[in-house]
Symmetry: C2
Subunit: 240 residues, 2 copies
DNA sequence: GTCTATACAACGATAGAC
DNA sequence: GTCTATCGTTGTATAGAC
């Protein structure tokens, strides 16, 4: 799972990871799922997740009726309810899937021993590539926060802060090593986040400019390094 | 409407502007609104808008029932429908209100004759202060795009591009004047936008750090100028 | 394991008394 | 100009045949 080897390879690994995670989710909810053939259940479950994300990101999760989901996924109402228990529980399973993916990918990306500058690059690329590969999930979990219950909301917040911490830690280390010049690493990390999120939230903006994920990653890295790398004072003096 | 004179004064002017706009909206929809006393109608309409934003930003517009709105605003179902015609039309009126505010504020902010660096600062402040003063509207119009009809969606997209253009024009001019160093002004403007939006989308993040709108504006300006101002090459060479 | 048919609650919108 | 009562529709979830 090394983003430095290019998006295509990364995407292949993410797809495998997703399949693993779906199986884990099935096992976690085995008691509640009435379908006992593991392979059938995992495949169906994965399809249900995909269709839910597709419809929800078009109409909203609230607006998606279970009938809609039944029609789009080609599974009858009755059969659907032998996989999902309830609409709320479906939401919960979907969120769980994404959280597991994020945790694994970001943990791995942060674990490699790199100097601060290259680690920042690695973290940025890992985040962008992951959100590209699982764009529907990230868009969903950003836009549907309102419909989460208390626990899911807290977990989402926790995740947001955890991912900022990867960046603030890296900035802090880079500052100490004299590579970066950052007054407030936490605030800067808080400003890096929306730049990463823009990629999966406003895709049309970049698609219409023909910018792919690797080009965006390059542009973002260039932009951030211009702001963060230690350097002499600017040539233009501050205005009065 | 000069953001340079501080948020407090700016906020005062926005409140006055909002009242004007509500009256205009009433006049625009006079035929459809059964209540004919102008002052009563404008006041009620404004309250209906505020409560709609409050509830929608908590539960989602789709999830907000008209009954909820009726209860929270203290107006009966029957009376409500003598102001709003339909739930969809209510959405439309609310969007119209915000669009008018954005257009007026940003036009004015861009009109002042300033050098590129100060104009960038002025545009950033105007945007941040406006979105602070009307946070519920901006949050709403970002999060509820899915529920817009075709026309409202197109207008929202148009607005997004228009506001990016203010920034790309300014960057382009600054590049020509030798103040900024920007390879791709459009892409850079596209990256400034999410930094502005983060302010009204993730308020809790900044509130918990005790950062107000003026402090955020200062930090953003510092961050952007570090990345954009023309300067000598960085001291740290690019890694292999 | 999957289907069709249906129960029951909540929604947007309106009618008609005051 | 405002209210209460009610209509028809749509949503989630389940029962029971296959």
């Amino acid at each position: 799972m090394r983003p430095s080897s290019g998006y295509k390879e990364f995407k292949r690994q993410i797809d495998a990871l997703k399949a693993d995670i779906c199986r884990e989710i099935y096992l976690q909810n085995k008691e509640r799922i009435r379908v006992k053939n593991e392979d059938v259940a995992v495949a169906r479950l994965s399809a249900i997740f995909d269709h839910t994300l597709e419809i929800s990101n078009r109409l909203g999760f609230q607006a998606m009726s279970v009938r809609d989901l039944s029609e789009h996924s080609g599974i009858s109402m009755g059969a659907l309810y032998s996989y999902i228990e309830s609409k709320d529980k479906l939401l919960e399973m979907i969120l769980c899937m994404g959280r597991m993916a994020v945790t694994r990918v970001m943990t791995q990306a942060a674990a490699e021993p790199l100097d601060a500058r290259n680690q920042l690059r690695q973290l940025l690329r890992a985040h962008l590539y992951l959100t590209e590969a699982m764009q529907p999930w990230f868009y969903f979990s950003y836009m549907e926060t309102k419909h989460f219950d208390r626990e899911a909301r807290e977990r989402a917040l926790e995740g947001e802060l955890a991912s900022e911490r990867y960046f603030s830690d890296c900035l802090l280390r880079g500052s100490a090593e004299g590579v970066f010049e950052v007054r407030d690493p936490e605030l800067t990390a808080a400003m890096i986040k929306p730049l990463l999120q823009d990629w999966y939230l406003k895709r049309w903006k970049y698609r219409r400019r023909n910018i792919g994920v690797e080009a965006y990653a390059d542009a973002l890295i260039e932009f951030l390094e211009a702001a963060l790398l230690k350097r002499p004072a600017p040539t233009v003096p501050a205005p009065p």
